[in-house]
């Protein structure tokens, strides 16, 4: 009986591990690991930061983990042969090692962090010599409005831009704070009411990439998705032309209608756009509009 249970003790974990590995690989077949499958210059740099950092840390973590179980096994109470020194509680060399090793790793990580933080700084213009495309983004409840100030068009839950062209997203919100994120092109940035934040991205190749809101912002959060499409500059130009020809105008009244809460909003296209719309969206949080009443609800005891 005891023999069997002893064998079981060895076989069972091996079986378990094997089953786990098989299950995981089955589960993961054909998945798009968006963060590990970058299609833009920023996302590339961010991925290599992750890889370098993890490798650096594993050089300390793996030996530590192995040592834990080796030591735990070797110095088990039933092993009478093992050295036993109940009073041994300090050692100068170990003092250096156990502060020095992690410190060395952290120094390297720190250098990496400093450099990469600046390299992928979302505010830094990406400049490979071509002209930057500016796109203004307004987070609404619960959809994304994209305004192309230079092209005088606007889109909802869809954004198109030429590949290999730096895009400067200028983010604000007419809603609770949202986070603007196209994982395969690069990291995210908050969009907040009354403020403008920036995110500079550039796609290497043509394709459609998933875009999403990443910060909880109310009931329609899960449906606040958009498609980011990168195309050749010829395709982009023809898209612009077709937009101008076929779309309806986005007036201020139309915007106010659009800004009302809606969930799983379909894509929409507008041209031309009320001039100065983006600034008005920002400014309404900065100064009182004419006739705006300061009194807010509340205080009824």
């Amino acid at each position: 009986m005891k023999q069997i249970s002893k064998k079981l003790k060895i076989i069972l974990p091996i079986l378990l591990v094997a089953a786990t590995i098989i299950t995981i690989s089955l589960l993961l077949r054909g998945h798009n690991f968006q963060l590990l499958n970058p299609q833009g210059i920023i996302a590339h740099q961010e991925r290599s930061t992750m890889f370098t950092a993890v490798l650096l840390m594993l050089t300390l973590a793996v030996p530590l983990l192995v040592a834990t179980f080796v030591i735990a096994y070797k110095y088990r109470a039933t092993n009478e042969q093992a050295d036993y020194q109940p009073e041994w509680d300090h050692n100068l060399e170990w003092e250096f090692i156990r502060w020095g090793l992690p410190a060395a790793i952290v120094v390297l990580l720190g250098i990496l962090t400093w450099n990469t933080s600046h390299a992928v700084d979302p505010y830094k213009k990406i400049d490979p010599g071509t002209k930057t495309l500016t796109i203004q983004v307004v987070a609404l409840q619960w959809k994304w409005l994209f305004i192309y100030p230079g092209q005088n068009i606007a889109t909802v839950n869809f954004v198109e831009f030429p590949q290999n062209t730096p895009v400067n997203f200028q983010l604000t919100a007419d809603a609770p704070m949202s986070s603007f994120w196209i994982p395969q092109l690069g990291g995210q940035m908050y969009a907040m009411p009354g403020m403008v934040t920036q995110l500079n991205l550039m796609a290497d190749s043509a394709g459609e990439y998933a875009g999403t809101a990443a910060e909880i912002n109310g009931a329609g959060f899960a449906g606040m998705k958009f498609t980011a499409k990168s195309v050749s500059s010829d395709d982009f130009n023809s898209w612009l032309n077709s937009m101008q020809a076929t779309s309806s105008e986005l007036t201020l009244a139309g915007y106010n209608d659009l800004a009302k809460p809606s969930e799983y909003n379909p894509q929409a296209f507008f041209a031309p756009v009320e001039p100065n719309l983006y600034n008005e969206v920002i400014m309404k949080f900065m100064a009182p509009e004419a006739g705006q009443d300061a009194d807010m609800p509340g205080m009824h005891m």
Binding site: A43, M177, P183, Q188, M192, N217
Partner: protein, 656 residues
Amino acid sequence: MQHFLIGNLTTDALPHQWFTLGGTCFILLMSVVVVLFLTYTKRWKWLWTEWLTSTDPKRIGIMYIIMASLMLFRGALDAVMIWLQQALSSGASYGYLDPSHFQQIFTAHGDIMIFFVTMGFLFGLLNFIVPLQIGTRDLAFPFLNSLGFWLYVAGAVFINLFFVIGGDFAATGWLALPPLSELAFNPGTGVDYWIWSLQISGLGTMLGGINFLVTIIKMRAPGMTLFRMPMFTWTALLSSSLVVAIFPILAATIALLWLDRFFGMHFFTAGFGGNMMMYVNLIWTWGHPEVYVLIIPGFGIYSEVVSTFSQKKLFGYYSMVAAAFGITGIAFVVWLHHFFTMGAGADVNAFFGIMTMIIGIPTAVQIFNWLLTMFRGRIIFKTPMFWFLGFISTFTFGGIAGLLLASPAADFQLHNTLFLVAHFHTMVIGGALFGIFAGITYWFPKVTGFRLNERLGKYAFWCWLVGFFTAFTPLYLLGLMGATRRLDHYDAGTGWQPLFITALIGICIIGIGALLQVLQIFVSFKQRKENRDLTGDPWNGRTLEWATSSPPPHYNFAVIPTVESRDAFWNMKQKGLTKPKNYQDITMSKNTGLGIYLSGFIFLLGFAFVWHILWLGILGFAGAIICVIIRAYDDDTEYVITASELRQLEEKETLH
């Protein structure tokens, strides 16, 4: 008139959705069962005089742990509901919850697990163990201790009250970031319940922090210098200092949010000159150190456990203390890493990122120290050691994920994803909760006088560990696939569903582990005769809590021991010292029900604020003030046990 009587309350506030009805029925049913049981067994008076009104930290500690266990049940139920929704809600199916309800559940889950489960367990252990470890009979302020506990209970009731009255909780995420949590976007009472639940329990936590700080600084046994304190006491001291430093920040911050909502002010509103980024900064100035409040005592528990079961002195005591100090200090300069994506600029982001990584150094030092404690030891593999090894295996991965998130360049991608969710669950479950379980198993015989069943304990551990990896490995992977957190629905095309289902299975395995722990307690209770600890020292312990009987008398030590070194009890045993018998008169604090009344009035005050009921607010406020005055001028709060009574009590004890 109606508004005067019941404020904003209407019949709409009564439960009418399936989950509020269910919650209400469950709460009522439990209450009826408890009431019937107490009446049937005629235990009301016993419960009131011996437990509820007790100022004995040991009893308060036990009540904290019972309350935290109940809240763990509530929080775990939330977890299952969250993952069930996510496992179902793919493609054409929108699951069984509407978005708002789903969001309320994950908000409640986070708040309950942090404020009422982990903090509750922690204060429970601190209450029971710290006075014993430093060789004293009580905390510095016994009444405040009772009050703090009852405020914690009031907060816990508050966070469940919306089931019965109100019908909705904050649907904002556990920190209720504005402007989402402002009146403009969340006009219901959910956020107000959130505010007052945290405000009331936070006040209790703050009182507890002050109490432990003063107790550890001022009331140690003679001869116990700071550097002779056991590691757990050190971590309790540092954790309490952190509580004292940060909880006022939380109180002020959510008070400002309340002013916005109640008086129409503009601290964090969108527009009118409000600044929501200020809230985010303030709440994380509290929030990050709060994580260390939870985890530092866990490190203390591991230190005790490893050294006891390795039958060896703790290796590198001074560097251990230094590391704990380092973590405590740096905790204050890392808060911005929670929102690198707010556009602070590369220099600022990099600074906070590097500060965060520096925390990795003292943490790694502690792990080295535990390894070197085991090295050349004689390790006995009781359940607490299993929890420790489980902690090392989970925490290492969680730590790597954490340092990765600390790098702004990586965080831009990983922020707000399930990768982040998996990371902090690894830290809180693998770090704090496993530590708490290790501590509960380790000190259980001290509390009850009998040991927990080893076999069931180990089964429970394996369920927790396997369940943990099954539940959270998929989340790391989903994060890398670009799955954001808090999704009540996702496209079928993402192919995420199998992973979410795997995570749900993991939660169920953890649930089995938790059930085994409940079973373990019942079985151990039934077998208590076989597992009895008569010596007071079942594990061959090293510190003072093992120097008294199990369970300890309500005065802890008949004669306060004199400490001559670190590992005081170990050295006493080495020298063959026995319990001293030179009894003298001692004073103990009397029990009092005022803590219950006072927290009850504060509860009414909070309730009045939520529903805008003026008379109730005045009643709560006046009642609270009267309680404070009564207590402040009550000079009859202590009683004396004379030396001869003490001798009799002690002789009776040895006869058993």
